[in-house]
């Protein structure tokens, strides 16, 4: 355990402070507020960029929580690999399924 604890102290030396956590929370709150407002802003909600923008914002929130709160940005790279690898397989599987069930499609415009 001796060198374990040492490794931990070492890792914690780079961990962010409570202040960083608070700022992160503020950032997440603001993005969430933007997301919810977008739902109620009709021109945005009905535009073509609504879905991509919502997915983008939630992806940013997802990434920030993983990076800061789950310490992936500061911790050993091993943990990042253990998480991102499965996540990529999961997302690719999800997209594949949505294609297979016709929920998304690539439309190639027949240039006229």
């Amino acid at each position: 355990m001796a060198h374990d604890t040492a490794a931990h102290d070492d890792a914690h030396a780079h961990h962010p402070t409570a202040k960083t956590y608070l700022w992160t929370a503020l950032f997440l709150t603001i993005v969430t507020i933007v997301e919810i407002s977008a739902y109620y802003i009709k021109p945005w909600e009905q535009s073509a960029i609504y879905v991509p923008s919502m997915i983008f914002m939630s992806a940013v929130k997802f990434a920030v929580v993983c990076a800061v709160y789950m310490h992936l940005k500061y911790d050993n790279k091993l943990f990042r690999n253990l998480f991102v690898g499965p996540l990529v397989i999961a997302i690719v599987t999800c997209v594949g399924l949505l294609f297979l069930f016709g929920k998304v499609a690539i439309r190639i415009s027949s240039g006229q």
């Binding site: 355990m1 001796a2 060198h3 374990d4 604890t5 040492a6 490794a7 931990h8 914690h12 961990h15 402070t17 409570a18 956590y21 608070l22 992160t24 929370a25 997440l28 709150t29 969430t32 997301e35 919810i36 977008a38 739902y39 909600e45 609504y50 879905v51 919502m54 997915i55 914002m57 939630s58 929130k61 997802f62 929580v65 993983c66 800061v68 709160y69 789950m70 310490h71 050993n76 091993l78 943990f79 253990l82 998480f83 690898g85 499965p86 996540l87 397989i89 999961a90 997302i91 599987t93 999800c94 399924l97 949505l98 069930f101 929920k103």
Partner: protein, 228 residues
């Protein structure tokens, strides 16, 4: 092989010691990350099913559209309650903040704290209990949501939407419940004898799980509630 590491019986230092580790990391943390990776596939299967069945229900009520029952003439509004869910989303977000502060408090026991704010920052029990309470508030919102749906006429078996919705959010709720139990256990230990600085990993494991449940909700909130 003159260099045969005469590593005298690893583990002699500490009863909890995990024998020699090749990465210097604690095995439990590797395991919890592998577990979280596995959970990604679990939730992606659930979310995919919800999305595949989106708009495929033969009868209402529907999540975002108004529906009139042709047999009774009764009209159902869009069933999802965005304001309540926005509130519970915010609550879960704040619980993640409390969680990370709890971990912060446990691993920084040595820091001298004098002012009220500093002592609050170092009060791991307060942050653990806050996280649990916020989790319970989230669960109460979910219970309210579920009961009001049933009240309005959307039960587990009503249509494809309700089945996939209840099972997906129910799975997430079950994860939150397990997390709350875990947090309460940690808080009880903290109250009883105080979590030591070298036990940061114990809190960290719970925290990783809790944040993961939170990020899953981030995805669910957008994919289920906000995108029509």
């Amino acid at each position: 092989m003159s260099a045969t590491a005469v590593e005298p019986t690893a583990g002699a230092h500490d009863a909890h010691a995990h024998h020699h580790t090749s990465t210097g990391l604690d095995s439990r943390k590797i395991a919890i990350w592998a577990f979280i990776g596995s959970e990604c596939m679990l939730f992606v299967s659930l979310i995919s099913t919800y999305l595949i069945y989106k708009g495929k229900s033969r009868v209402g009520p529907y999540p975002h559209e108004v529906w009139t029952d042709p047999s009774t003439g009764h009209t159902f509004g869009a069933i999802l309650n965005i304001p309540v869910t926005s509130f519970s989303t915010f609550v879960l977000l704040m619980s993640s903040l409390a969680m990370v502060l709890a971990h912060n408090a446990v691993v920084n026991r040595r820091v001298k704290r004098t002012t009220f704010m500093q002592r609050l920052e170092g009060n791991s029990f307060f942050w653990l209990i806050s996280t649990a309470v916020l989790g319970i508030v989230f669960l109460m919102c979910q219970a309210y949501e579920f009961t009001s749906f049933v009240h309005e006429g959307l039960g587990l078996t009503t249509n494809l939407f309700s089945s996939s919705f209840f099972v997906l959010t129910g799975f997430h709720g079950a994860h939150v419940t397990a997390g709350v139990l875990w947090l309460c256990t940690l808080a009880a230990i903290d109250k009883k004898r105080g979590l030591r600085e070298d036990e940061g990993l114990v809190v960290d494991m719970c925290a990783l799980y809790w944040h993961f449940v939170d990020v899953v909700w981030i995805a669910i909130f957008v994919l289920l509630y906000l995108i029509k």
